[in-house]
Point group: C2
Chain length 153, copies 2
């Protein structure tokens, strides 16, 4: 079974290289593809945040990890499954990030904190509703806090 998707837009950003850290200040633009009407974005400015689903299409498929590995290859951290980490070298190479909405143009959405490089295909945009955030306290291992320490700096 295969699932065929089409980009609903593309990322325009000054960031062109996939790097591990310091994505917090990045402003990127999502341009909606010509096939979709501009009305698809109507009303999004009433939300402060959106979730962006994209594909890390720059990742070589040969590098995809389907089992376990040390996150970022750091052996001080435990070896964990690819679905217990958010790294890009994953089956289907999907990225998923909550961004702050800065400005909606006619066919564009400017966002802050998108960890995707210029040219990245976007597969979906969803508004963040508080009701879809965790409804219980979030628990996570210590290594993940360490890994995230400089991510948004």
């Amino acid at each position: 079974m295969t699932i065929t998707l089409q980009p609903i837009g593309f990322v325009r950003s000054s960031r062109t290289t996939l790097t591990d850290d310091q994505w917090g200040e990045v402003t990127a633009r999502i341009e909606i593809v010509d096939m979709l009407p501009q009305e698809s974005l109507d009303g999004i400015e009433a939300f402060s945040h959106a979730e962006i689903v994209f594909q890390f299409n720059q990742v070589d498929e040969a590098n995809i990890v389907s089992g376990a590995r040390h996150p970022r290859g750091n052996t001080r951290w435990p070896k964990v499954g690819i679905f217990a980490q958010r790294g890009k070298d994953r089956p289907n190479r999907l990225g998923l990030t909550i961004v702050r909405i800065a400005r909606r143009g006619e066919r564009t959405l400017d966002v802050v904190g998108l960890d995707a490089v210029d040219g990245t295909p976007v597969l979906d945009v969803k508004p963040v509703m508080a009701e879809f955030l965790p409804r219980e306290p979030v628990r996570q291992p210590e290594w993940s806090h360490e890994l995230m320490q400089r991510y948004w700096v």
Copy 2:
């Protein structure tokens, strides 16, 4: 440009019909496909929550909305773009939900609060890290609070 993905697993659930509300108590099982090693889930039990990316493959492609509509057809709510709502009748038909992790089996993950029916293809599982949640207060329109009122009941 098309993007071809393969399910990394499938949903097993007692819910078989896509309904609008009352998903909070649903326990579902995600079964990882045979092609992936069971190690792909290692360490996920250290997290309380995971984000599940799936496809609403029961939605007829003829029903996909690419412009604006009243959410759930409710004319008391404003007409907004499909990317300003989280409805299932959307381009690429992707669903995206944060669930509570209940139990990891060898090749299975039992989760609470997954709004996907039995047989749904799963495209990715990512652990929820607090650092990936909104870093500013969330603002959203009043209609979205009303819409969510009975979603998790």
